[in-house]
């Protein structure tokens, strides 16, 4: 399978000069068609930034993002190029991602019309798309505020679908929703991938959700990816101590009364990341060398892990 989106050596900065924050620091990642890639990590680790950079909403300070072989140009004062229309994004907040003053039909119709479709084509597409995301056709005549959060998120998805995306980056699309709405949207996204073979980057801070739908998961910590691999393997046998902690911290709703394990400390300020391995101040298995040596990704058990301690001795250069 060839990669549809290829991220190589990507760095993204916020601010300028002294106040510069490197929110994403040297990330390599690929997404293939028909694949769901989960992206997890604690708040502030750079997931959104990475997602935004992938669709061209943040310019790369270093490295590059390519989509279907061509570079993703940052969104500027000009119209986005037509080829990039097939690379779309879904946002976290279903309230602010739909224009409150426009009807749902018009919003979705835009997705068609902006691709050069006629009015009639757009109208037809709208009904079809609404049906696809499980909303009645008369929803087209309503305003976004007349819908619940889950429904709005589905409308937002329908809107991106109007552009026939090949790749969808969904930035915490379900975090703001109730449990059952979460399940609805997550299921919808899963179905779409299966039906249309699009590639989905699913960003979430909740590993248990990601595990339900993602084929592959990438765990981020402070602007870096610390572990990437097939979801099930990462979940059942995490290699990186951070992944381990993340999974152990998830409370299980089994009525067992077990308290989850906490990970002491906070995510450090990305403006002044720790030396060496960025996780070392919070790492339960840190050794002295972790303080100084910045580990690169190493292939362990079919996945890339950036950990000195867990890396087999021979893999170290």
């Amino acid at each position: 399978m060839t990669a549809l989106v290829k991220v190589s050596g990507l760095c993204v900065d916020y601010g300028r000069g002294g106040a510069r924050v490197r929110a994403v620091d040297g990330i390599d990642l690929t997404v293939s068609p028909g694949e769901i890639l989960g992206l997890v990590g604690e708040s502030g680790c750079g997931k959104s930034t990475l997602g935004r950079a992938m669709v061209g909403l943040e310019p790369a300070a270093e490295g590059s993002v390519t989509f279907a072989g061509s570079a993703v140009a940052p969104l500027g004062r000009r119209k986005r190029s037509a080829s990039l229309r097939r690379l779309q994004m879904v946002f976290q907040d279903p309230y602010s991602s739909l224009n409150p003053r426009r009807r749902v039909g018009a919003l979705i119709g835009d997705g068609v019309a902006l691709g050069g479709g006629t009015k009639e084509a757009a109208a037809q597409r709208v009904t079809a798309l609404l049906e696809r995301v499980g909303l009645p056709a008369d929803a087209a005549e309503k305003y976004p505020h007349e819908f619940s959060g889950g429904q709005r998120q589905r409308i937002a998805i329908a809107r991106t679908l109007a552009a026939d995306p090949e790749c969808l980056v969904a930035d915490e699309p379900i975090s703001a929703l109730d449990a059952s709405a979460q399940a609805q949207v997550a299921n919808l996204l899963g179905e779409l991938v299966r039906e249309t073979g699009l590639a989905l980057v699913f960003i979430s801070h909740d590993l248990s959700v990601v595990r339900q739908i993602a084929d592959r998961v990438a765990v981020m910590y402070l602007g870096r990816i610390v572990e990437v691999g097939p979801t099930e393997q990462v979940w059942t046998a995490p290699v990186h101590p951070y992944t381990e902690a993340l999974i152990a911290a998830i409370p299980r709703a089994d009525g067992g009364g077990l308290l989850p394990v906490d990970l002491p400390g906070d995510v450090p300020d990305p403006a002044s990341p720790p030396s060496g391995c960025r996780f070392h101040p919070r790492c339960p298995i840190a050794e002295d060398r972790c303080r100084t040596i910045d580990p690169g990704p190493v292939l362990i058990n079919e996945r890339e892990v950036a950990c000195l301690v867990r890396a087999p001795a021979d893999s170290l250069v």
Binding site: S43, S180, L259, L263, D266, V267
Partner: protein, 328 residues
């Protein structure tokens, strides 16, 4: 006698479109040292229930029923008396640590002002206590933290400080309204442990409100599930979470990704929760309920004891139905 017992509590809110019941006939009780969890989807009236206890309902709200705390009814208390209960007897921690601490007052002031008001302690004594409190909730370098402002702390730290603020006057009941929803799981685990420790060390009674059944499972002794302002089910944690009787509770659990359940498809509850004031008649859940029967839309289900300490409001449940018929 339980520390707090709520009987047939209803809360009506008035909005631009008229008034509606946000909480409808809710009853439960909490003992000293007990942790009661209240679960339910957004808008099911969880927060309103908690605010009623502190007399902090929004403008124009009206209440009915009883909320007896330590022998007195909180609902009929004079504003002055209820103020003496707030913070001193019953304290509250709310969902968003970013907004529940005052952004431009120092941590010290926020930690000590009610201590000095309620307990009448001196400034220096309050300060000493504040340092202890911060240490209790595991804030590094408490002395220095006192002079800082909330904005200088991370989310998890802020929530710890908020808990310290709530604990400052050694209340007997802590209302924790979604104390971890805004936090990362790694941080959440720490907060849950803190609450657990406080309960065991201080005998603190806790009402924890959350829609996260995982949190419920980790912490609560008993769980109360609310839907559309009403109680659906209440009972011991293990029963509710491992053998739920109400179709809504079951639906909630099915919709959750199961850590142990493998990569099975999530099963959402059909439809969406009722909106403001549009709670269906009869059993509020019937439009979404897979087991609904025609009668569900007519009669309002009563809470019926289906097992010791386990009450259920579902007319179609085989255990609940006969009892219901009997009471008629």
């Amino acid at each position: 006698m339980p520390l707090l017992s709520i009987e047939h509590l209803s809360v009506a809110l008035s909005t631009a479109r008229g008034s509606f019941k946000a909480v409808d006939d809710v009853s439960f009780s909490v003992d000293t040292g007990e942790i009661l969890g209240i679960a339910g989807e957004s808008g099911s009236g969880k927060t309103m229930t908690a605010l009623t206890l502190l007399g902090l309902l929004p403008h124009g709200a009206r209440t009915a029923g009883k909320a007896v705390f330590d022998g007195t009814d909180l609902l009929t208390m004079s504003p002055k008396k209820i103020r003496a209960v707030r913070g001193r007897q019953i304290a509250m921690v709310s969902q968003d640590p970013a907004t529940s601490l005052h952004p431009i007052l120092t941590v010290e002031r926020q930690l000590t002002e009610h201590m000095r008001h309620h307990l009448g302690v001196s400034r220096s004594e309050a300060r000493t206590r504040a340092v202890d409190l911060l240490a209790t909730v595991r804030i590094p370098d408490p002395e220095q933290a006192l002079t800082a402002y909330p904005g200088q702390f991370s989310g998890g730290m802020r929530q710890r400080i908020a808990i310290a603020v709530a604990l400052a006057c050694e209340p007997r009941l802590l209302l924790a309204d979604e104390p971890t929803t805004a936090l990362d799981v790694t941080v959440q685990a720490g907060i849950l442990r803190l609450l657990q420790r406080l309960r065991t060390e201080r005998g603190l009674a806790v009402v924890i409100i959350t829609h996260d059944l995982g949190v419920m499972s980790a912490l609560a002794d008993r769980v109360c599930v609310m839907y559309g302002g009403r109680m659906a089910e209440v009972g011991p944690r293990s029963e509710i979470l491992s053998a739920p009787r109400h179709p809504y509770t079951r639906g909630l659990l099915d919709a959750l990704p199961h850590p142990e359940g493998g990569a099975a498809e999530l099963r959402p509850i059909a439809g969406s929760p009722p909106s403001l004031g549009n709670v269906p008649t009869g059993c509020p859940f019937h439009p979404r309920c897979p087991h609904a029967e025609p009668g569900c839309s007519l009669d309002r289900p009563e809470l019926v004891t289906v097992a010791p300490g386990h009450l259920l409001a579902c007319p179609v449940d085989p255990l609940a139905r006969p009892v219901l018929e009997k009471t008629r």
